[in-house]
């Protein structure tokens, strides 16, 4: 048990270290001059000022020293100062993350609810309704998030005045962005869950449950859904990527502050400390979510809980 825990921890560290190193190399390889970004807007900098900035941000040190310095600090959670924001990277990320988390978590919950209801209702019955939903899901999947957001805004904000277009104030301004972000997610999840359900329902155990006199609903919710959710949870990594990339676009359309926006900005302007910070965060999230998924497997599937000799 202790051995497994240590092995897990080492794996996590290796993943983080690898992500940080690869990003560092990539950022040093692509062209761009951080000092020009540091000096900002109108860009009038004499040599002395350039030298000052270069020194202040440690850019005059040899590469290997910059790397060691960075990795050393990153291990204790200090990612340095963002070039554009002139603030500690951790502060910038935490600020943005607060906004994105609300959006992303709400969208995930909504997507999950929609998908479960949809799959439970349509799996293996009502052929025409099922076909309609499957087609609709396909449409949603291939619709750009950007466009979806603008359509929703045009109808529900500009025409009907139900929701405000603007920013991060209150739950009403969250409704449209959450729907925009969740619809494509719900579409993927629905398809996976429905396929899983249909497969489960065709298994011999379904017949056993039915023969015990259980109702159709009970069969679907208590027994088949458990099987289907295994397939869905394997997809969590992809889902996470979808939420993150979707949030970049959703945040742009709805003018929301968030991690998607700063990521885009940080990469375009070679804000190295910020990019590295964001990559480390994503890697950490990925690791944590994989741990949770593994744990969820154990809960969902009793066969995995059996102790192996």
């Amino acid at each position: 048990m202790v051995y497994t825990a240590i092995k897990r921890l080492l794996t996590i560290l290796a993943v983080l270290w690898g992500a940080a190193t690869l990003t560092f190399i990539a950022l040093k390889l692509i062209p761009g001059d951080p000092v020009s970004i540091l000096s900002g807007g109108a860009n009038v900098v004499d040599d002395a000022f350039r030298a000052q900035l270069t020194h202040e941000f440690g850019l005059d040190q040899p590469l290997w020293l910059q790397y060691l310095h960075y990795i050393g600090h990153a291990l204790v959670g200090n990612f340095g100062q963002s070039y554009q924001y002139r603030q500690p990277v951790v502060d910038v990320i935490v600020d943005a993350l607060k906004q994105t988390l609300v959006l992303a978590v709400s969208a995930l919950v909504l997507a999950l609810a929609l998908a479960v209801l949809n799959a439970l209702a349509t799996a293996g019955r009502w052929r025409y309704l099922r076909a309609f939903f499957a087609g609709f899901e396909l449409c949603l999947l291939s619709t750009p998030v950007y466009w979806l957001g603008i359509i929703l805004l045009s109808v529900f904000s500009f025409q009907m005045h139900w929701f405000p277009v603007m920013g991060n104030d209150g739950w009403r301004s969250l409704v449209l962005p959450v729907i925009t972000l969740s619809l494509p997610l719900a579409a993927i999840l629905s398809q996976i869950l429905r396929d899983g359900l249909e497969e489960a329902l065709s298994q011999p155990f379904a017949l056993t449950v039915r023969s015990r006199g259980a109702g159709e609903t009970r069969l679907r919710v208590r027994h088949a859904l458990r099987h289907a959710s295994l397939a869905a949870s394997t997809l969590t990594g992809t889902m996470l990527a979808n939420v993150l990339s979707g949030s970049i676009l959703t945040e742009t359309v709805f003018g929301r502050a968030g991690i998607g926006k700063i990521t885009l900005q940080a990469i375009a302007s070679r804000d190295m400390p910020l990019v590295l910070g964001i990559v480390m965060l994503s890697a950490l999230l990925f690791v944590i979510i994989n741990l949770l998924v593994d744990a969820a497997y154990l809960v969902v599937d009793p066969r995995l809980r059996k102790r192996t000799p």
């Binding site: 692509i30 003018g255 968030g258």
Partner: protein, 517 residues
């Protein structure tokens, strides 16, 4: 409406107190501290929060503000400012000479990493405070542009108490302005509330005392269709950067109007890199200039919402010389003749001229994220135009990191931008050899104007005018740049918004603004 006047829908109406103004902005700023950024959105927001030592009216004359009077010697080396005695910052600190000196010293200190603000102050020798309400600034070499710089929000005066106790000023600003910054959220916007005890407005304002509006909310809405939808549906009362495609539909909407203020400063130009490649040849540069027809290209790209430029400076800039226009003009025959003379005589199968086996290709490097869609259309129109003279204008898009890399390493034939500044000293930033990239914006690699630019910085007014006129003529006759259009600030507003005036950096001022119902 003519420039130079505040736009009042109905001058007979009396302003109404109160109301919240929501403004949708197309761009965002990473920091709200005006002293450490050159971002124009920071200036737009902070104009309501920080006051300046002097004001500059729309006709470029200087008016009192925090300084009730000032003296400048003929040589432009000594400036003495006499401050108002009744001004307080919103945190209760009193404005005095020490507060002003603290602000300027902070900007000059390299640790603050001010760059634009610092450049506006020029080569200051000393700052002294002869008494509690007098600030004296001394230069060794003459520096005439100081007053204009001081009037901008980048040199706005912040509370020294706040500056001293705040570790990081990126998210907050405390000034003596008519509004207080309640919140600033990067990527989202700023909320401002009125100061009830404000009584020291700039001399160019149409009223004194507190602002009419009780709140201003600046909202970052990067997607132009969303900005426009929010305006037409009445959720916000003003938007910036009205897309040229939509300008007509806004104008035809009886509830809305578009207010336009031409930028002063360097117009949108294409810089021709004189230090290498094809544009090191004067004849090739002149041929390129003659082969472009900005008038028709600008019309196509901007649907008639912007004017084609006829000089390197915009007409709103001080010492703009209209006679330079005579040097410009579309002339394909002249372009062809010049290129023949320069030895580009044969053509390849694509109709591009060849010399020593090399095609006449212009590597035009640009960062699409800093441009509007219409700009790219404009560049494509130019590509089409110059092809008639056998020139291949190659569009080479890169991201902002790539852009600085290419310009720092001198790997480009042409780039494009514009600068907003009412003071012609902006020419020094763009054409003095000490600002060759990466140190600045001398993208054309010009050094022939150094003496004149330095002389003009501190000469008496009549001589400055003469020098700047010569400089403008020289820039065009040497074809250092191709002027394209005069950029303008386009503010779409509901007709319920009145009294918005313009700052000299072509940004709207909201101190005199009010909302009717």
């Amino acid at each position: 409406m003519a420039a130079g006047q505040p736009f009042l829908a109905n001058a007979a109406q009396t302003p109404i107190q109160g109301g919240t103004l929501n403004v949708g902005l197309g761009s965002d700023t990473p920091t709200i501290d005006p002293s450490i950024t050159g971002q124009s959105i920071t200036a737009l927001i902070d104009r309501n929060v920080v006051d300046s030592l002097v004001g500059q009216a729309e006709d470029n004359r200087f008016t009192p503000w925090l300084a009730s009077s000032w003296e400048v010697n003929d040589k432009h080396t000594d400036y003495v400012f006499h401050l108002r005695k009744d001004v307080t910052f919103s945190d209760g600190t009193k404005l005095d000479a020490a507060a002003v000196k603290y602000n300027l010293d902070r900007i000059l200190d390299p640790k603050t990493t001010s760059s634009y603000s610092k450049s506006l102050l020029g080569p200051i020798k000393t700052i002294t405070t002869p008494d509690d309400y007098t600030v004296a600034i001394h230069y060794d070499t003459p520096f005439a542009p100081l007053l204009s710089g001081l009037s901008l929000p980048y040199l706005g005066i912040q509370s020294p108490t706040y500056l001293k106790k705040t570790q990081n000023t990126n998210n907050t600003v405390v000034g003596s302005g008519p509004f207080i910054l309640k919140s600033f959220v990067k990527g989202s916007g700023s909320q401002l509330t009125r100061r009830a005890d404000y009584n020291w407005g700039p001399g160019y304002a149409t009223h004194q005392g507190p602002a009419y509006l009780s709140e201003i909310n600046f909202k970052y809405l990067p997607e132009s269709s969303v900005r426009l939808g929010a305006l037409t549906s009445g959720q916000i009362q003003a938007i910036d950067a009205v897309p040229p495609v939509n300008a007509k539909s806004v104008k035809s909407n009886p509830a809305l109007e578009v207010k336009t203020k031409e930028n002063p400063g360097i117009v949108r130009v294409v810089y021709l890199n004189t230090s290498r490649g094809i544009f090191s040849d004067l004849k090739v540069r002149q041929a390129f200039l003659s082969a472009t027809d900005p008038a028709s290209a600008v019309k196509v790209a901007f649907f008639g919402t912007l004017k084609a430029a006829n000089n390197v400076l915009g007409p709103q800039t001080q010492y703009y010389d209209p006679s330079v226009a005579k040097l410009l003009g579309y002339d394909l025959a002249k372009a062809n003749k010049l290129l023949d003379e320069a030895g580009w005589t044969s053509k390849n199968a694509d109709g591009i001229r060849i010399k020593d086996g090399k095609p006449l290709t212009v590597d035009f490097v640009y960062d699409p994220s800093t441009l509007e869609t219409a700009d790219v259309t404009l560049f494509q129109a130019i590509q089409f135009q110059v092809k008639k003279a056998g020139i291949d204008f190659k569009l080479d898009p890169v991201d902002s990191g790539g852009f600085t890399d290419r310009t720092n390493n001198n790997q480009y034939d042409a780039v494009s931008n514009y600068y907003v500044r009412a003071e012609p000293d902006i020419l020094r930033t763009v054409f003095h050899s000490s600002y060759t990239p990466p140190k600045g914006a001398d993208y054309s690699h010009v050094s022939s104007l150094d003496d004149k630019l330095i002389q003009a910085q501190g000469a008496p007014d009549a001589q400055r005018k003469q020098l700047y006129s010569e400089i403008q003529h020289q820039i065009i006759s040497q074809a250092y740049v191709v002027p394209l259009y005069v950029p303008a600030y386009q503010l779409g507003i509901t007709k319920q918004l009145h009294g918005v005036s313009w700052a000299t950096n072509a940004k709207p001022n909201f101190y005199d603004a009010w909302l009717s119902h």
